[in-house]
Symmetry: C2
Subunit: 211 residues, 2 copies
């Protein structure tokens, strides 16, 4: 459609700028409350000694998430979409002047909490990463396939709750792999820190191989 | 916008038909995996002896949810939106001929799992009800206000997990009430059945008062 074509043009402009600045950009997506901000706070704690990180927060309204990121000390900008259920390349382009792009190695874009539309809009990122909470159930790849197909990595969060749930983790992972054979899958808990080490090692490896 | 105006016209047509048939219609919304289908299965078990229930299932793709409802024995129709992140009045109107509307008392419409756009589209329902899982966090009313404002009732689900979470239930409820003073709030677990009795009593009361 015309909307997606216009979006692609701006995404390409964003990408050119990111490449000029030597910046690696991750578009982080999930349904509401799966743990995107929690993962970012924990990831920043582990990466901060080695990499210069920045964040763009995307929400319908409010600054709660940006405030949580601010307390980690890294540069952060909050976008309020005013109703749109996803971020697009134009919204990202508009706030780029507010970030010290040349002084960053890694930029996270936390998308609006929605398991559907964010996967349709490129914003200029190097890769899409999605988060799924174990509390959402093993049928999500079957019912919301696009985001699983578009993501380079799937982070399964809140594994500390597994003892209290009936989820079938094997079928969740099989269904995700059926949609996207090469997807990396991490099992983590932002509460207990389990699995965060291999996630941040994966990220550092990607950044080092592109620089 | 023109889309919402066209939608309102069809919603009004749907509503006229529902009134003619003496049908009470609930539009059930939540983010993905909050427990809409689980709530419907448990609610049907409790209501089936007293009321004739039917269900319209809305999903991007797949028939998983309709199959779960089918096993309860009530009439159910599955809508696949093919990408749209919400149901609209036209999608509902198209499947109405497939349901024995004159033989039902209560029709549930399970919307697509999305905490944003479904709240913008009336489909002809008597009321919107939203579900929120305790695992999503107490900040959701601040960040996704529209659905809280539009819903007549809020069902907080998965309270069996509360002992393992750090959520502030009081501030969740205060924030929801700040957006919608008259909203009924239920705390339930579809796993342990806690709180389901008062939810189904509330529904029965509403249906009896409109007939
Ligand atoms: N038990 C448990 N809870 C978690 C974990 N990670 C996050 N949470 C909780 O999940 C809720 C939502 O976390 P957020 O980080 O705000 O989720 P989000 O995806 O950023 O949410 P939105 O931006 O509003 O869509 C909060 O109550 C967190 O405390 C985890 O690993 N284990
Ligand atoms: N612990 C616990 N798990 C629940 C409860 N209700 C539902 N679940 C689990 O939550 C997951 C999602 O439940 P569903 O009923 O499929 O949720 P849904 O909102 O219909 O999901 P979509 O239609 O895909 O958006 C499943 O793994 C359920 O077993 C509950 O009260 N407690
Ligand atoms: Mg967040
Ligand atoms: Mg469902």
């Amino acid at each position: 459609t015309r909307i997606l074509e216009a979006n692609e043009r701006i995404a390409t402009e964003n990408r050119r700028l990111f490449k000029e600045k030597g910046l690696f950009v991750v578009n982080l997506m999930s349904g509401p409350g799966a743990g995107k901000t929690s993962l970012l706070v924990r990831t920043i704690e582990l990466l901060k000694p080695h990499l210069r990180v920045g964040v763009i927060e995307g929400d319908i309204t409010g600054t709660e998430d940006a405030e949580r990121i601010q307390s980690t000390g890294v540069p952060v900008v909050q976008i309020n979409t005013g109703g749109a259920c996803h971020l697009d390349a134009n919204m990202i382009q508009e706030v780029l002047p507010e970030l010290p792009l040349g002084e960053l190695d890694l930029l996270f874009i936390e998308n609006v909490g929605n398991l559907v539309c964010p996967a349709e809009f490129n914003v200029g990122e190097d890769m899409k990463v999605m988060l799924l909470s174990v509390t959402e159930g093993e049928d999500k790849p079957l019912k919301y396939p696009l985001m699983f197909q578009q993501s380079k990595a799937l982070v399964i969060n809140k594994i500390d709750l597994l003892p209290h749930l009936d989820i079938d983790m094997e079928s969740l992972k099989e269904r995700a792999r059926a949609l996207n054979r090469d997807m990396e899958i991490f099992e983590v808990s932002c509460k207990t820190s389990e699995g965060l080490e291999s996630w941040t090692t994966y990220l550092t490896g990607l950044i080092n191989s592109t620089h």
